[in-house]
């Protein structure tokens, strides 16, 4: 079991809310442990590829490493061709898991970059086989990967643990579902909802992401 506690933000010159450190520790444990279709070693090596630490992920087709790098550093240019190449080579679940790992790692690394503090070292992988917790029967719905109908939180549900992790990260980083129900939400002290959505709009504009 991965137990080492990180994300204390001692190098930050300001106080970081404890819910952010807690959810990033949860993600680090999630990353290190076996996933639905990848081992802990494969998962951490996918993250290492995205960070530029290694060239290819352990025991996975080259297309997975290419997708990991592409999605981390140039997401606007990722399309069906990149994703289908990875899925054809490694399978749908491994591809969804890779998309999840990179998206979630990007959040953690972006938070550190935004505060101007060094990123955490990747966790040591936990031994063990993939859990096999992959949903059967989902189909591509004019999407790159199989998923149920619905908005972004369901997009990773082929591998349910990844969808749960995505939702867990969103609350502390952005707003919880209860907070999102309030158009006039204001974190006191902190930003109000319009100020938060101005950040998301400008960033998505730069990323050329309409969604």
């Amino acid at each position: 079991m991965y137990r080492h506690t990180v994300f204390d933000f001692k190098q930050a010159t300001i106080t970081v809310r404890p819910d952010i450190g807690a959810v990033y520790n949860r993600f680090w444990r999630h990353l290190a442990n076996p996933g639905g279709s990848l081992t802990g070693g494969q998962r951490v090596s996918v993250a290492a590829v995205a960070r530029g630490g290694i060239a290819e992920a352990d025991g996975l087709p080259l297309e997975i490493s290419q997708l990991a790098r592409h999605l981390m550093h140039d997401p606007a240019t990722v399309g069906s061709e990149n994703v289908r190449s990875a899925a054809d080579a490694a399978g749908e679940a491994a591809t969804v898991e890779t998309i999840a790992i990179i998206s979630q790692l990007s959040a953690v690394d972006s938070f550190h970059a935004a505060l101007g503090i060094p990123t955490e070292s990747l966790p040591s992988p936990v031994d063990g086989a993939a859990t096999g917790d992959v949903v059967e029967g989902l189909k591509r719905r004019r999407t790159h990967v199989p998923m149920p109908a619905g908005p972004i939180p369901v997009a990773l549900d082929l591998v349910p643990a990844e969808g749960r992790m995505l939702e867990a990260l969103a609350g502390p980083q952005y707003m919880t579902y209860d907070e999102m129900a309030l158009n006039d939400f204001r974190r006191t002290p902190g930003l109000d909802r319009s100020q938060m959505e101005l950040i998301s709009s400008r960033e998505s504009f730069h990323n050329e992401c309409f969604y």
Partner: protein, 109 residues
Amino acid sequence: MLRASAIALGYPFEMAGIGDRSSDTGIPGSGVILDFVDAVFFDNSADAARDALAVELGPEALVDAAGVYANFAMMNRVAEGTGIPIPGAAIEREAEMVSALHLDRMLKH
């Protein structure tokens, strides 16, 4: 969502300011917020942008801003990686935004 929250909070929101820095969005602190996003995204003079945001809106706001920035780094990648479609109704509903920000090029799904 931004328009709805701006109305709820009583701000005179101008959509064009998201893409065009010569226009004011009408959101309080817009200048330091957009400077922060631009500086972090383009890895350019971010120390000054962080300091300006913390001075004008408070240190807690800087942590919030970093969190939101992190969240949409994640969401943008989930959207691009999975190819989740943009509902036609959403595009119609946001026609003014699509026009104001010249977003037609992003509608690739």
